[in-house]
């Protein structure tokens, strides 16, 4: 199962006038943006800037109050096979082992057998034979297993919300390596994080959000210009 062939320059995620309101609170205030494929985008901003809501809207978990999100020309729910999502909570069942968890999620994507699950677990440098329930993992292991779940169906686009939060340095480093290799293989990756330093050297673009809008987009080091990401 391979990711769809996406010409790198084409815009694969388009957002037009995206507004998301939670009753009294307006989380996203008319966001307009286009994102090309094959890049690693780091989304930064203060707490409450709307980063998580933005990512959830892109992943199809939060329906826009107004405006549109287009992933590969489709609605987010229609694009679900091409999209992987990961957040700070693990999105895994604590009482099952890693392989058992992935086996279940594989069924949701119509993937039969264990081989893909085991392969993906090895990709994140974990042991598929581990029978320990996920609830007993360290945070680093848990986030890596969560990432494994997100890439299980080999999506072309990844949305990661605070993947490195409370994660030990080694695990974080391994995750960054994996993300970089995936980006190099042509996948499009969006990462919301407060720890931009981890991705400083590999990010293609930094997207700055404030008060529900994108206020700035700066090229990363890989593009040759030198605005460093900040905490």
């Amino acid at each position: 199962m391979s990711a769809p062939e996406i010409p790198a320059a084409a815009s694969i995620v388009t957002v037009s006038n995206l507004i998301k309101q939670f009753g009294r609170f307006v989380a996203l205030r008319g966001v307009n943006a286009e994102f090309a494929g094959g890049k690693l985008y780091v989304i930064l901003g203060d707490n409450g800037a709307g980063k998580t809501t933005f990512l959830r809207a892109l992943a199809g978990l939060a329906q826009p109050t107004r405006g549109e999100v287009s992933i590969l020309g489709k609605n987010p729910p229609e694009a679900c096979r091409d999209v992987g999502y990961m957040a700070h909570p693990s999105l895994l069942y604590d009482e099952m082992s890693g392989l058992e968890n992935l086996r279940y999620f594989a069924r949701l994507y119509g993937i039969a057998g264990d081989s893909r699950c085991a392969q993906v677990i090895r990709l994140v440098r974990l042991d598929p034979e581990l029978t320990r329930p996920v609830g007993q993992y360290s945070q680093g292991m848990r986030q890596r297993m969560s990432l494994a779940r997100a890439i299980l169906h080999d999506p072309g686009i990844l949305f990661l919300d605070e993947p490195f939060s409370n994660v030990d340095v080694r695990s974080a480093g391994e995750m960054v390596e994996l993300l970089t290799s995936m980006r190099d293989a042509g996948k499009t990756i969006f990462v919301v994080t407060h720890q931009a330093s981890l991705l400083e050297s590999v990010a293609d673009e930094f997207v700055w959000m404030q008060a529900g809008q994108i206020v700035d987009r700066t090229a990363g080091r890989t593009q040759g210009s030198s605005r460093a990401g900040t905490e």
Partner: protein
């Protein structure tokens, strides 16, 4: 649709496995059911003649309370670690999740009933004067009536404050015709007092109407955020 069936089955077996691994929840529910039967027996003195009249009501009210405890539990698991998001992001259809949850709840509540019913029969010295086999369709249809709406409203309550009280608050009024049918049918069968056919048909109608409504509207409430 084979994928719908396989996803439903996978979700159901996953839930059963998880339920089995955290057996405390089931054990405490079983004990709660036992307590309910005992308290009812102390409150409503089981003298043979009167007891057959009110046993129908007592049993189903007891089942209703035990069911609410069970229903609140089963969605709670999906909220830990926001696992529900993983399902919503996948291509798996919302209805497969609903059917799997409803079936899981049905099995769980039937288990509780299997514990409570014999106890009621013993404490109240119950014997059916009418066709006892009819109690089986009443039990199945009645339990499904409670479980199908209960699963649906429990999912609705996930998005509200005071989640645990919202479920019975939404479920009880809508369940009134179903509860009345179950109670009347049981009373008629136990007392041998006429035909329970109307009530069984009404229960069947209730089940068909609300199963359809739940399947039609579950996706709407699942995606509400």
């Amino acid at each position: 649709m084979s994928s719908l069936r396989s996803i439903t089955l996978a979700t159901l077996t996953k839930d059963i496995r998880l339920e089995w691994r955290s057996r405390d929840a089931i054990n405490s529910m079983l004990f709660f059911s036992l307590l309910v039967v005992v308290i009812f027996s102390f409150s409503f003195d089981p003298n043979a003649e009167e007891s057959r009249e009110i046993a129908g009501g007592l049993i189903w009210v007891a089942f209703l309370f035990a069911a609410v405890v069970a229903l609140n539990q089963t969605w709670a698991r999906e909220l830990r670690n926001q696992v529900l998001d993983a399902y919503r992001v996948s291509p798996a259809p919302a209805n497969a999740l609903f059917v799997a949850k409803a079936l899981g709840n049905f099995i769980l509540v039937t288990l509780l009933e299997a514990v409570m019913a014999p106890l009621f029969m013993i404490f109240y010295n119950l014997r059916a004067l009418g066709p006892a086999w009819q109690l089986i369709p009443v039990a199945i249809l009645g339990t499904w009536a409670l479980v199908v709406n209960g699963t649906f409203f429990a999912a609705m309550s996930l998005r509200t404050r005071s989640r645990e009280i919202m479920l019975p608050l939404l479920l009880f009024p809508i369940s009134i015709p179903a509860v009345q049918s179950m109670v009347e049918a049981t009373r008629i069968i136990l007392a041998g007092d006429g035909s329970a056919r109307f009530w069984i048909v009404l229960l069947l109608t209730y089940d068909v109407v609300f199963t359809t409504a739940c399947l039609a509207l579950f996706e709407t409430i699942l995606q509400a955020e």
